[in-house]
């Protein structure tokens, strides 16, 4: 069973649908598990044929489970750069996975909630992505998937150290629990650095939209655990679950503060952002993210009546460089992309007032 990247272009993943608990602030909840096969070296020491064997073993193992775990397999090593970038924008593979070399692949389920990356930093990276703030559901799902795969292959596991990983920062549970938050009001009110410092104190990490080292574009931030050893999976889920409600509260208070103290300024800021997005003739990805972020907050505060969060979430993804090129059906250089992006935004945002935005 294989999946055509082109089939994914016009759909959206479940996690983008903008529903789920607390979806005005929480975009998605994600858990990933790092696993390695016991009888092969880690990726840095794996020869070309080892990598091919690892890929085949895990692919076969996963595809045997297809009744329980309906996934399609994508051979990432055979994809064009644009398609790999597309999967990165879609959060289905990491940038590292897209840019590495040799045998590797990813298995994806239909709702794009599950992604099984083979030959990333570890032999296997299992990811479950849920819309809104829903970590317990993500944990139940990933726990079951991990058990199912473990019935097919032998994981590298140490009695004292737990699941063994290429990087000692992941050893133990091999688990990263993260929540993607939209925090525009904390950015405007300059509270965000303070928040980061307090999160670092409780050993939680803050990253941008596309994980490690990425910029916090569009005021999106991922909060995740740093520690993986000496705490159970349930404790790690609990740790992140307990801190997120106070961040949501903090963001909502900052939004209320902005409405109360400077509603006109805020309304102006949001309306101008909306205006630029609806009329611009050429626009960069960065500016788009920045303006969409203001508009998204405006929609949540009822300042823009005729737009809906799912449409906006979709625009965040579909105006990214690879999505834009896939949608327009042509490879475009930066300046052509900026023109196409502006055209795409005008078309979608100007039809929004007529009822439902047409799909492409």
């Amino acid at each position: 069973m294989s999946v055509q990247i082109d089939d994914l272009v016009r759909t959206t993943g479940e996690w983008m649908r903008g529903s789920g608990p607390e979806s005005d602030v929480v975009i998605s909840s994600r858990i990933r598990l790092a696993r390695n096969l016991a009888d092969y070296p880690f990726i840095t020491r794996a020869a070309t044929n080892d990598r091919a064997d690892i890929e085949r073993t895990l692919r076969d193992g996963v595809l045997k489970l297809v009744d329980k775990l309906p996934v399609s397999y994508v051979d990432v090593s055979k994809l064009e750069g644009l398609d790999r970038q597309f999967l990165v924008e879609r959060q289905l593979i990491s940038r590292e996975h897209a840019e590495s070399e040799g045998a590797r692949g990813v298995a994806i389920d239909e709702g794009e909630q599950v992604s099984l990356m083979i030959n990333e930093e570890d032999h296997l990276r299992i990811q479950v992505l849920k819309s809104g703030f829903d970590l317990p559901a993500a944990w139940d799902k990933i726990d079951a998937i991990d058990d199912a795969i473990e019935s097919q292959v032998t994981y590298a596991f140490h009695q004292r150290l737990g699941y063994l990983t290429a990087c000692p920062t992941n050893v133990g549970t091999g688990m990263r629990v993260s929540v993607m938050l939209h925090l525009p009001a904390l950015v405007i009110t300059r509270q965000i650095d303070k928040l980061f410092r307090s999160l670092q104190k409780i050993s939680l990490a803050v990253r941008g939209l596309y994980g490690e080292g990425s910029q916090a574009m569009g005021d999106f931030y991922q909060i995740s655990n740093q520690i993986t050893l000496g705490r159970s999976e349930i404790e790690l889920v609990k740790q992140v679950s307990e801190v997120v409600p106070s961040i949501i509260d903090y963001e909502r208070k900052a939004r209320e503060f902005l409405v109360r103290e400077s509603k006109q300024n805020l309304h102006d800021r949001v309306s101008r952002a909306y205006g630029i997005l609806r009329t611009a003739q050429t626009i960069s990805s960065e500016e788009t993210m920045h303006l969409l972020s203001s508009v998204r907050m405006g929609v949540n505060l009822g300042l823009i009546p005729d737009l809906h969060i799912p449409e906006l979430n979709q625009l965040f993804i579909q105006t990214q460089p690879a999505h834009l090129q896939k949608l327009s059906g042509a490879e475009l250089d930066t300046s052509d992309r900026n023109i196409e992006r502006a055209r795409y935004l005008r078309k979608h945002l100007n039809s929004a007032g007529d009822g439902h935005a047409e799909k492409n």
Partner: protein, 169 residues
């Protein structure tokens, strides 16, 4: 829950992991801010932290000669040297956790504050992990034998690998 320093509700729950054992604090926003400000530490670079730590910690309490010797120590299974690990921050195979156990311990303590796993374990018995590790070594030797055109040795190794793989299930 009330703030530990005043009567306001505690909205910040801080677990301090630096120092001996974890310390829990429940504070209102104002006192949390005071607490965090007075505990201001220079900002750490989160990415590449493993590499940086590995480089620092490995050298602690060792003479130049000792460190030099340690750097040249190689894992008998995957062949990675301690120097390779220190410079890349990535291990070469699961046996590294065994053969560099002593060197990794301070690193693990520093990253996680703990050195033992709690939580999920594989449902199936892991069987003989030494046999699986042995497979990593044999496959590497096979590759070397083939590239050195030692075909007789290669064929013996291939038989050994098949035998071990056959025992797998």
């Amino acid at each position: 829950m009330k703030c530990q320093k005043c009567d306001k509700p505690a909205t910040f729950h801080i677990t301090e992991l630096t120092g001996g054992k974890p310390k829990e604090l429940h504070l209102c926003e104002e006192h949390a801010r005071d607490y965090l400000n007075e505990n201001e530490t220079p900002t750490e670079e989160p990415s590449g932290a493993a590499e940086a730590l590995a480089q620092q910690l490995a050298g602690v309490g060792k003479t130049v000669e000792q460190l030099d010797k340690l750097d040249k120590t190689a894992c008998p299974i995957c062949g990675i040297t301690f120097f390779d690990f220190r410079s890349k921050g990535r291990l070469g195979c699961s046996h590294d956790y065994v053969c560099f156990e002593k060197e990794l311990e301070p690193l693990l303590t520093n990253i996680h504050g703990e050195t033992a796993h709690i939580g999920k374990r594989p449902k199936r018995s892991q069987g003989d992990t030494d046999r699986l590790t042995e497979l990593i070594r044999l496959r590497k030797e096979l590759k070397t034998a083939v590239s050195n055109e030692k075909y007789e040795e290669a064929s013996q190794l291939r038989d050994q690998i098949r035998r071990l793989e056959g025992d797998r299930k």
